[in-house]
Structure formats: structure tokens, C-alpha cells
Amino acid sequence: MDSLYELWIKRDPEWEERYQDSVISVFSDYGKGVNKYQEVRGKIYGAGYEVFILAFFIGLYFNKTRPLVKDKSKRKHFGWAIANWGTGESRLGRTQYPRLREYMFAALIARTDIDFIALDKGEITQRKVVDDLITKMEEYANFGFDFIQEKLEENPNYFFKETAFLRVFLGFLNKENDVVEQDYEPESLD
């Protein structure tokens, strides 16, 4: 019998299509299009799921979720199961990070309301549980995408200082989630 983790990494989470141009392809090679934030700059990340991971952690650390649109036609997925995340980046200077997924999984287990006793008793199915985990994951990331998009709308250069994303995550340390955003002001790039 497969473990929950093994079932979970076979999934390919969904996200709202509207973030493809406004967030995902701003920072990654995903979609490869030209967009208003990205004319000449080199992309920070390779695969689209890398931006998804950032968005997920933002939602996670804020502990805020945001349900995806109901309309399935407005959602997309990378077509790239979690099992492949962090295992294929071949850009120069990058290293693989397959273990990060265990922590994402651990976070979902910690934060998703699931009756594991009932699961082990066989009263609910693994499939249902993994569905719940994926939904939570998508909702965290959905919040994160929204957060990034808002920042970009305020200042298109916001995340193009090298330390900007890192500062966002350092901002979650020992802070109440609400005050994080006012905690720092990234330097202007001009």
C-alpha cells in the first residue's frame, strides 16, 4: 500500500490561470511569453512550480488560504507532478532540492484538518485525505500568488532586488504575521 506521501507526490496541483502572466512567468521560464514586468531581465527561476513553491510558503507562513475559483476552466496545472519538483533543474549553478517536498508535506499534514484515526481505521479513504491536502496546498499558494501580484502592482521592481524574496521569508521570523509586510522597505533599483 502506498503511503500518503507517495500518493501526494503523484499529484499535480492546480492554480488560477490569471497568475500565469501576472506572476508565474514574471519570475520563471514558464510560458516563455513577454509580459509587462519582464522585457529584458533574465528570469529568476526556471520551472513554473518554483514560483508555486514560493507562493505556497508565503500562504503557509501567513497561515492564510484563499480558495481557488470554482470554475475549473479558469484553473491550470503545470502538468508536472510534485514527484518531479526540485529534481530536474539543470541550470548552471543550481542544485536539486528533492527534500523540500517532505517539509511541504509535513506542513500540510500539520495544517490540514484530517481524522487520521478514521483513516487508519479505514473509515475514510486515502484518496479523500490526499484531496484535502492538495486543496490546502493550492489554497496556500493561491494566497501567495495574490500577495506577490499585489506587491508587483504596487512596484513592478519589488522582487527584482536579489534579496527581496529572501527578505519576505526572513520577515516571518518571530513576528506576528500581520506586521510582516510593514517590516521592511526594499531598496529601489533605480
Binding site: 503511503s3 506521501y5 549553478g93 527534500r99 484515526i117 483513516l119 487508519d120 481505521k121
Partner: protein, 722 residues
């Protein structure tokens, strides 16, 4: 020739017909700031004196004049000069310009006229001829200089040779040397002819003559080789001198280059170290994104541990319940049969099934040996005992099944909680400390980058310092390119070797020449020792001897004449050098003859060492001294004086040197016209200093009200201020 007056009309910035300069026999200064028309004055004079120009040039016309001309109108550009040269003379060069349409002008033919006053008459002559006679291009070359850089006319080897040829008497000697040599040759030929025809010595003479002529050929070749070697040796020495001039610079340059390289390597390394961690990538690759994760990890661990605990508790409770049920089963004890007298019977398994059945079959109790008939109490007892035994066995089997059923019933079918708990355990320990240590890792990295950035700044500053030092070095070295410095460093060794080889070869050649010459003189002696019959031969010999001596004498005289000329010029130049330098260090000028018969000017210190790198002002004073010396010679040799015209020749002079310089020139009684921006500070003439001079001074400047962007508004004005 003394220039009396120069008039400039519509020539570039000199607009109109009122631009007149008058000159005395001594020094005249023309002062002007940048753009005031100094160089235009000089150019106008050069234009006037250039006898090779045959066309007017619209670019020479004043822009202001052009802009004011209406279509159909015409005006004139002209420069004229009044001068004294065996009587008063003047020369004028001019052309007309007509405006044909808005943007087109028609340039008329160039008119170049001279006027001579002979007796009471004023006669018009060709301007070209007049200037070629009175102030030819050769003299101009040594008397008109634009900027300090043009003063080095003598760096061109042929210039001094030309000068020497022109002013020394060597030319005259050339003819004499040629004559006497040809006499010598003819006398020799006649003498040899006579020898050959003398019966007594004819054969010996013939043999000797052929030896002599062969030897003469060898000597010529040897001399040619020596000359060639000398020339190349000179080339090496000159190049080595140049290299030595740059040697110190070269070494410092090399040293700076290697320091620069090591600093640049360090800079590269630091930059690589600083950018070795991409913060965006590190979020994922180094899992820095987990820096805020420890709390969540705790949540996870607690949840797993609680689940595990709960599950285990539930399992334990279940176990207990099962045990109770099994216990209950176990507790259902067989009520043991009690015998008639109240004592307990044997256990149910004694006697066993086979014994009982055998006894019942045989109708006898095989324990007590009494018969047991069917239907008796004893028989019934045994039957009952057998039944009891059978019942017991089957009930035991049922209980076993029941117990197994209880025991087999699992509360939990799956082990997800266990695998989660395992994950939680695997994320503890060293993995957990890695996650909690991330924040330290990140701040360590920040600190390191701060430190590296600081180091980088320092290294970049050091690089800048080295680069600055290098540029200073290159500026000091003058017109030496980096490539040359680099090459020099490598060349010096090779050249020393080449020079050494050339010197050795030269010694060898000279030795060989000596031997040949000795042989030659032996042969000559042998020839002379021949005692011909005919006394006529002796007369021929004596004539030849005399002519030979005369030819030698002229050849020596030519050399001596040149030596004297140079010595004299050297002396004159040095006397000017002393005067012009005043209290400043000046050294000593030496005019040196080179192997190819040209002459070089060098500056030496009194200790006899050559000053390889004279400063700009030292060079200027040196050249001007030589120019004055030349001017003296022209005066002596041709009984004519020439003006010296300098445009901004003293730009390398400091204030005090400058003042001193003009004071000296002022007292030299030599016509000098110097166009300069000296004596002007921030657009104002320094009158107190001017007052000290006795010469006349003109001030030229742009007329007020010009538009900084429009050339047509610029006009030079002339004011005699002293």
C-alpha cells in the same frame, strides 16, 4: 630682413581693413587669450609668405565679412607686409570674393605682388620672387614656429645637415676635394703608365700594380663594411638609449602591471565569492525558504506524536478489551464431578477416551477388576464419564475458535499514522537542527557578503590607485605607448646582445683593415723602391705624390671646417642657453656628428652625462637657443637678419621662467615676434609685468557682443597697449 608692418584684411577673424601691426627691430609681443586670433595672425603671415599657393580659399574669408555681404557685392581678403631688406620692400597677397547667391560665393584669382624701391622709384615685382629672394622657405623653416612642438625641427636629421650645408663653407670644400682627388687619380694613372713602359721595372711594376689595385679593392670593401657596421651600431645605440630612457618607466610599468593583475584576480575572486550564492535560488536549493519553518515542524511533530500516541492508546484499549473477552472464555471452568462420598473425582481426561471405550466394550472396570454390566450405575458412570470427555474436547475446540476470533479482530486496518510518525522522526534530529540552523546560515552568509563587499571595495580602490599611477606614469613617459613599454622591457636584452655582436665585428673589421692598409703601404714602398731607368718616371711620381698630399689636405680641411662650424654654433647656442635660462638649470648643448654625416642636438649636464629626458621647458629653451644661434649665422654669412616668429612657443614655461625669458629676448636686439597668452590671467593683461619690458605689446581680443554659437559674430580687434 626686418618686418615693419603687417596688415590683415578680412582674413578669418580679422574683419575689415583696419588690422595693422607695426614692429620694431627688437621684440614685439602679441597677447591674446584662447580664440582671440593669435594663431590666425600667425596663419595669415604664413599664408602671405607661402610662395606655393596659387588659389584663393573661401575658408580664409572672415565669416563676419561673408555674412554682411549682399548678393552681387564683392570684397577682398588680403594680407600685406612692409619690410626692410636692402631697402624698403613690401609684399601683398589678396583675392576677391563675390557673393553670387545666398549660399554661394565666387572666389577671384589670387594676386601676389611685391614692390621694391630702387632709388626714387617704386617698382612692382612678383611677390613670389621677392619672398623667394628675401625670406625663402628654408629660412622660414628655421624662423617661424607654431607651438612648442614645431620647435623640434632638428629632430629631423636632414634639417641640421641642410642647415650646415647652407651656412658652413663645406660646400665649397666639396668641389675642392673633388678636384684634388681627380688630379691625384690622374697623376697616379700617368705615373703608373710610365712605370709600365719603363723597360727595367715594367714586369715588377705590373705585378705590383695589379696587387695594389686588388688590395685597393679589398680595402674599399672593408671600409664599406665598417661604415655599414658603424651605422648599424649607431642604430642599436640610439635604440638602446631610447630604451634606457624608458627603462625605469618600463620596469615601473611592468611592476604596476603585475600588481594590477594580481589585484584584478583578487577582484574577480571576490566577485565570484559574493555572487556564489544566488539568494533567490538558495531559497529552494539550500532550502532557505524553510528559515521560518521550525514552528510548523514542531506543529507537525506534535501532531504526529499525538496521533501516534492516540492510536497506540486506542490499540492498547482494544487489546485490553480483547484480553478481557478471552479471559472470560478462559474463566468458564468445568464443574468437576463430585463422587458419592464427596471426594472429587478424577479429572475429565482420566481415564482417557480409549480406556473408557475399552472398558465399556469389555464390560469390566480394568482399574478395580470388577465386571460392569450394562445398565448398572457403574456402567452409566463410565458412560457419563466418556460423554463428559467428548463434550469437553469439543467445547475446548469451540473456545479456541472463539478466542482466535477475538484476537484476530484488528481495530486499525492501516498504518498511515505510523508512516507519518516515521516521517516526523526522520525530520527530527540532524535534519531538524539543519532547519533551525538555517537562520544562522543566512545571517553568516550576509555577514560574509558584507565583509567580502568591503574587501571588494578596498580592492577596487587599490585597482583605481594603480590605474591612476599607471596613467601618471604614462603621462610622465610622454609619447610612449603601453605596448612600447611592454616591448622595451623584452627588447633591451636582445638589443644589448646585438650591439655587443656588432661591436665585436667592428673591432675585427678594423683590425682586418689595418692589416690590409699595412700591406698596401708595403706594396707602395716596394713600388717606390723600384728604380726605373727613365728619369721622367720619377718626375711623374713626384707630381703624383704632391697631388696626393694636396688631396689629403683638402679632405682634412673639409672635416676641420665642419668641426669648427659646429663648435662655433655650439658656442653661440650655449651662450643663448645661459642667457635664456637665467637662474634655472640649463645644461650644455652639444652638436654631434653621426656616422651618416648628419648632426644631432643633445643636452648634457656639466658632468658630461647626457640628459636623456629634458623637461618641456628645457627643450624649448634649447631649441630656441639653437634657433638664435642659426639666426646669428644667417646674419653673419649672408649679412642679413631675419625675424623669428613664435606662436605660443612657451606654453611649458612657469610664470617666473616666462618673465625672465621675455626680459632676455627683449634685450637681444633681434627682431622677434611672439604671439602668446602669457601675461594674461583670467582675460586680464598683467600690466605690472608688461611695464617692466621695453618692447612693444599688442593686445588682440574678440570684439564684445559676439554670440558664442555664431562664428559670423566674431571679430578680432587689435590694440597697441605699449
Amino acid at each position: 630682413m626686418i618686418i615693419k608692418e603687417i596688415r590683415i584684411k578680412n582674413f578669418r577673424s580679422y574683419y575689415g581693413d583696419n588690422n595693422i601691426f607695426q614692429f620694431s627691430n627688437g621684440l614685439t609681443l602679441i597677447l591674446g587669450d584662447n580664440g582671440d586670433g593669435k594663431t590666425t595672425f600667425f596663419d595669415a603671415l604664413q599664408w602671405l609668405l607661402n610662395t606655393t599657393i596659387d588659389k584663393g580659399n573661401i575658408d580664409h574669408m572672415s565669416e563676419m565679412c561673408k555674412s554682411k555681404m549682399e548678393v552681387g557685392e564683392q570684397d577682398e581678403v588680403s594680407v600685406s607686409m612692409l619690410f626692410e631688406h636692402n631697402g624698403e620692400k613690401s609684399v601683398e597677397k589678396s583675392f576677391t570674393v563675390e557673393r553670387i547667391s545666398e549660399g554661394t560665393f565666387k572666389v577671384g584669382p589670387l594676386v601676389y605682388r611685391g614692390y621694391e624701391t630702387t632709388g626714387p622709384e617704386r617698382v612692382q615685382v612678383s611677390g613670389k620672387r621677392l619672398i623667394d629672394n628675401c625670406y625663402d622657405a628654408f629660412i622660414q623653416r628655421f624662423s617661424m614656429f607654431k607651438g612648442e612642438s614645431e620647435l623640434n625641427v632638428f629632430e629631423n636629421a636632414t634639417a641640421l645637415k641642410d642647415l650646415v650645408d647652407k651656412f658652413s663653407d663645406i660646400r665649397k670644400f666639396d668641389d675642392l676635394v673633388e678636384f684634388t682627388t681627380s688630379f691625384e687619380g690622374k697623376a697616379n694613372a700617368a705615373y703608373l703608365k710610365e712605370m709600365r713602359s719603363d723597360k727595367k721595372v715594367a714586369n715588377e711594376a705590373k705585378a705590383l700594380e695589379s696587387q695594389i689595385s686588388r688590395l685597393a679593392g679589398e680595402i674599399d670593401t672593408k671600409k664599406g663594411d665598417i661604415k655599414e657596421k658603424n651605422t648599424s651600431l649607431e642604430v642599436y645605440s640610439k635604440r638602446l638609449d631610447e630604451l634606457e630612457e624608458n627603462q625605469e618607466t618600463s620596469e615601473r610599468y611592468k611592476n604596476l602591471q603585475s600588481r594590477l593583475k594580481s589585484k584584478e584576480d583578487k577582484q574577480k575572486k571576490l566577485k565570484a565569492q559574493i555572487s556564489s550564492v544566488d539568494y533567490n535560488h538558495a531559497l529552494l536549493d539550500k532550502m532557505w525558504i524553510l528559515c521560518a519553518f521550525p514552528d510548523i515542524l514542531q506543529e507537525f511533530k506534535q501532531k504526529c506524536s499525538a496521533l501516534s500516541k492516540e492510536k497506540r492508546k486506542l490499540e492498547k484499549d482494544d487489546e485490553r478489551r480483547k484480553a478481557i473477552e478471552v479471559g472470560k472464555l478462559e474463566a468458564v471452568k468445568e464443574i468437576q464431578g463430585v463422587l458419592a462420598n464427596g471426594v472429587p473425582g478424577l479429572p475429565w481426561y482420566l481415564p482417557d477416551k480409549e480406556t473408557l471405550e475399552e472398558m465399556l466394550h469389555d464390560h469390566i472396570c480394568k482399574v478395580c477388576g470388577r465386571p460392569v454390566e450394562e445398565g448398572t450405575d457403574a456402567y452409566n458412570f463410565m458412560l457419563q464419564k466418556l460423554e463428559e470427555y467428548k463434550r469437553h474436547i469439543s467445547s475446548e475446540a469451540a473456545k479456541k475458535t472463539q478466542k482466535k476470533e477475538i484476537e484476530d479482530k484488528e481495530l486499525f486496518k492501516f498504518s498511515n499514522i505510523e508512516s507519518l510518525h516515521n516521517l516526523s522522526i526522520s525530520l527530527s534530529g540532524s535534519n531538524e537542527s539543519q532547519i533551525t540552523g538555517l537562520i544562522g546560515e543566512i545571517s553568516d552568509r550576509f555577514e560574509l557578503v558584507d565583509r567580502l563587499t568591503q574587501d571588494l571595495k578596498e580592492v577596487e580602490q587599490q585597482i583605481q590607485d594603480i590605474v591612476d599611477e599607471k596613467s601618471r606614469l604614462l603621462i610622465q613617459a610622454g609619447n610612449v605607448s603601453e605596448a612600447v613599454l611592454e616591448k622595451d622591457f623584452n627588447d633591451i636584452k636582445g638589443l644589448f646582445e646585438q650591439k655587443g655582436r656588432a661591436e665585436n665585428r667592428l673591432t675585427e673589421l678594423n683590425r682586418e683593415l689595418g692589416e690590409l692598409e699595412k700591406k698596401m703601404s708595403d706594396l707602395q714602398k716596394q713600388m717606390d723602391a723600384l728604380n726605373p731607368d727613365n728619369s721622367q718616371v720619377k718626375v711623374y711620381r713626384d707630381v703624383y705624390r704632391v697631388l696626393e698630399e694636396i688631396a689629403k689636405a683638402f679632405s682634412v680641411a673639409k672635416k676641420e671646417n665642419l668641426r669648427r662650424f659646429l663648435a662655433e654654433m655650439e658656442e653661440k647656442a650655449n651662450s643663448y642657453l645661459v642667457k635664456l635660462s637665467a637662474s634655472d638649470f640649463h645644461g650644455e648643448i652639444r652638436l654631434r656628428q653621426t656616422a651618416d654625416n648628419s648632426t644631432e642636438i643633445r643636452l648634457y649636464s656639466s658632468s658630461g652625462t647626457e640628459i636623456k629626458k629634458p623637461s618641456g621647458s628645457q627643450l624649448t629653451v634649447m631649441y630656441i637657443s639653437v634657433l638664435f644661434a642659426i639666426s646669428d649665422f644667417t646674419q653673419e654669412k649672408r649679412d642679413e637678419d631675419y625675424p623669428l616668429v613664435f606662436d605660443a612657443a612657451t606654453s611649458s614655461f612657469g610664470d617666473s621662467k616666462e618673465e625672465n625669458f621675455y626680459n632676455v629676448i627683449d634685450t637681444l636686439h633681434k627682431q622677434c615676434i611672439i604671439v602668446t597668452k602669457d601675461f594674461i590671467t583670467k582675460g586680464k593683461v598683467r600690466f605690472p609685468e608688461i611695464e617692466k619690458l621695453t618692447c612693444s605689446v599688442y593686445r588682440i581680443k574678440k570684439a564684445d557682443g559676439f554670440n558664442t554659437r555664431n562664428m559670423a559674430t566674431i571679430r578680432s580687434t587689435i590694440e597697441k597697449i605699449k
